[in-house]
């Protein structure tokens, strides 16, 4: 077996080492905040996870009793007095004993992992010895079953699907339109490009706060514009309660985010358009193609790599919609009309502490995104023209 030449060179190894030194901070952060949680989500999804706090001593006994209790327990029997004391604390009967500290007996319940410390009667409860414990009980597919049968999750799934299904194609279509317009030699193009891109670089919190006002029922800009336009035609429309009407919440989220991502997508598409070889256009003109024909037959096919990229990235992003819901609706919205999958995960984990359910829901979300991306990479990508 011969070692490849480059592996023998000292330069190769010093350079590799150097590269990893530079990569280390990124790898560390990615590992800590992306890969580790990513893998853990899969692990957690198979467990019922509860944190329980093990208090200090909770079971009292008369001094001399302890030793006889322990010997009974070791033989698998529970002394009556201890059993009733434990029952008051809500413990079951599946107990075992282990010695933890110098002179303390710790009784542990098999099922729940709850620990009880036996102390002498009259001793002050040392609650400050309390410790938090994680109790992981394997439940197999139990979390998935529970999530999939939860009507809230079904609602979240439906809302997210509608949101993705409407907002992604709409944004892409409008971005294509804007990119085409910007690709013409219009006056003040840099300014248009900048203005178009601004929403994307503005923090989502700031954007959402502004849209909160835009969507206000009585004093919002949107209703003002709508009623003014209707007024021009002599019509009168009822004021729309964008953020409090269950039917309008999703449209409100969609409109805001279409606007927000339009500039970014248009910029990528524009860059793609400008990279298309002029020769194709010139050839088409010589053959007498109309403007639309050129766009349809040359620009569009040669832009498919960018369109594909934007489509897949924005789809993944759209599935993960969360901050907008949190800030715009300050909750899941009226009748949970704005409940999305990530928001569901968030409330399950951080409001109610069901980490297992939250992990299962996020694994389901991952599976959906993964399968859709796979479909696009295998089926849709065949229609992408990479050749130039």
């Amino acid at each position: 077996m011969s070692i490849p030449r480059h592996l023998k060179s000292k330069k190769f190894w010093t350079e590799t080492f150097e590269a990893y030194v530079y990569l280390f901070p990124t790898l560390l952060i990615l590992g800590l905040f992306t890969f580790y949680p990513f893998i853990n989500a899969f692990v957690y999804s198979a467990y019922d996870i509860r944190t329980r706090t093990v208090p200090g001593p909770v079971v009292y006994t008369r001094d001399e009793d302890i030793d006889s209790w322990i010997s009974l327990l070791r033989r698998g029997r529970i002394p009556e007095e201890l059993a009733s004391a434990l029952e008051k604390r809500g413990a079951g009967t599946d107990l075992w004993v282990r010695l933890r500290q110098t002179d303390r007996w710790v009784i542990k319940e098999e099922q729940t992992n709850q620990e009880y410390i036996v102390v002498k009667e009259g001793e002050v409860i040392n609650v400050y010895q309390a410790k938090t414990q994680w109790a992981l009980t394997p439940v197999g597919w139990g979390n998935f079953r529970q999530v999939l049968s939860d009507p809230d999750f079904a609602k979240a799934l439906k809302n997210t699907a509608i949101y993705v299904g409407v907002s992604v194609p709409t944004t892409l279509f409008l971005a294509l339109l804007i990119a085409t317009l910007l690709n013409q030699a219009v006056f003040g193009r840099p300014i248009f490009r900048l203005v178009n891109f601004l929403p994307y670089i503005t923090p989502v919190v700031a954007i959402t706060m502004v849209w909160q006002w835009i969507y206000d029922k009585n004093f919002g800009l949107l209703n003002y514009v709508l009623s003014s336009v209707a007024g021009l035609f002599g019509a009168k429309i009822a004021l729309l309660d964008w953020l409090n009407d269950a039917r309008l919440v999703l449209p409100a989220l969609i409109i805001m985010n279409v606007w927000r991502f339009l500039g970014y997508q248009a910029l990528i598409l524009l860059a793609g358009m400008q990279g298309i070889d002029r020769e194709y256009y010139e050839a088409a003109r010589v053959d007498g193609a109309s403007g639309f024909q050129v766009w349809r037959r040359i620009t569009l096919p040669l832009l498919t790599p960018q369109i594909f990229f934007v489509f897949i990235i924005s789809m993944i992003g759209a599935f993960k919609i969360f901050e907008e819901v949190l800030i715009l609706l300050q909750g899941p919205g009226p009748q949970k009309s704005g409940l999305t999958i990530v928001y569901y995960v968030f409330t399950k984990a951080f409001d109610s502490g069901h980490y297992g359910l939250a992990s299962a829901a996020s694994v389901i979300l991952f599976a959906i995104i993964f399968l859709l991306s796979l479909f696009q990479l295998t089926v849709v990508q065949r229609r992408v023209h990479y050749e130039r």
Binding site: R52, T53, V124, I125, A130, D216, N218, F219, S352
Partner: protein, 397 residues
Amino acid sequence: MKRLGLLAVLVFGVLAFGQVTISFWHAMSGAHGEALTYLIQKFQEENPGIVVDLVYQGGYSALQQKLTAAVAAGQPPTIAQQYENWTTQWLDALVDLDLFVSEEVLSDILPQFSQIFDGRVVTVPFNKSILVLYYRPDLIPNPPKTWAEFEEMVAQIGKDEEKGIYGTAFRPPNPEIFLTFLTQAGGSILSEDWKEVTINNEAGLEAAEFAARLAKYALIQGAYISDAIQKGLTIGMWIDTSAGYPYNMNAAKVAGVPLAVAPVPCYKNCASMIQGTNLAIFGVNQTKAQIEAAAKLIEFLLREDNIVYWAQKTGYLPVTRTAIFGKAWQEYIAQKPEQKVMTDQLLAGGFGQLLHPKYMDIRNVLITYWELLLKGQDTPKNILDALAAEIESIITE
């Protein structure tokens, strides 16, 4: 050289004395936050050995999420504000206060605020408020005293969305108003032994139908009602927490309309729900010295002079007998009729949260169905029955 020696003695003294640092997580912003900061400074001056690390955690939901995560990580603060239904989530992590706070202080707490969790005393009331009626004296010269009067006046003002006029207002995230109606009608969520769901019995139906009738003339929005007032909407009267007093008054001032406070109209009784948080000490990852320091802080905050200061600055209610019946508070409310209304409301019928370990989940479904009721999505009877079924499945889980 002499100075240096003195310094050394001082430094040594402080070190030997043992500085204890405790962390205090809260959600008090604005004027409330300033009042709390002042009290903490005063406490530190009185107790030179204790340093309180006061941490503002944002709004209540942010505080709840951070506490949940902190308890799970085994790193909670020493002391924190918390609602009852949060407390039940981490009961085992809390210190039994009767072991550390003097009996004198604990027994002075008003019975309206007394809370026993699973036979244990783990919280003391801190920033407590109560539901009262806010009304526009220019539209309603004599605020209603009964449900019938309430309904009649609300209907009189009616509802005109174009002009932004509403008889009353409700917030779906605030089912405490429904619980007030429920209690006034003699109903309850669960039977006394917590074994049966009673929310959909006759009293519950009366409360739900009453709310549904009012909702026809109501502005229904998730945001605080003061937002609507500030924007210039006209709302005849609405039930809201006394803690919202400064915000509602300010909104009315901005909108240039008068606003006053009256007791919540009564039905079979004059019950009104208490809101606001309590203080609890975490036992996890704390030293005994830290827990004792936190207990000292609780005793300090429940001292009459400090309660009265806190109540005057924030609009929260005094929580001990000594404070509420004391000279300072009585003289204060003699000059402040609206604070007197709130105090009287508390003494007349203040009731607190259900201390059931599953109340967190119960409240979530209450919010869901309260919204359906307000929006008239179904008949009150059907809504209540569905709600009762969900609560049933929660408590038998």
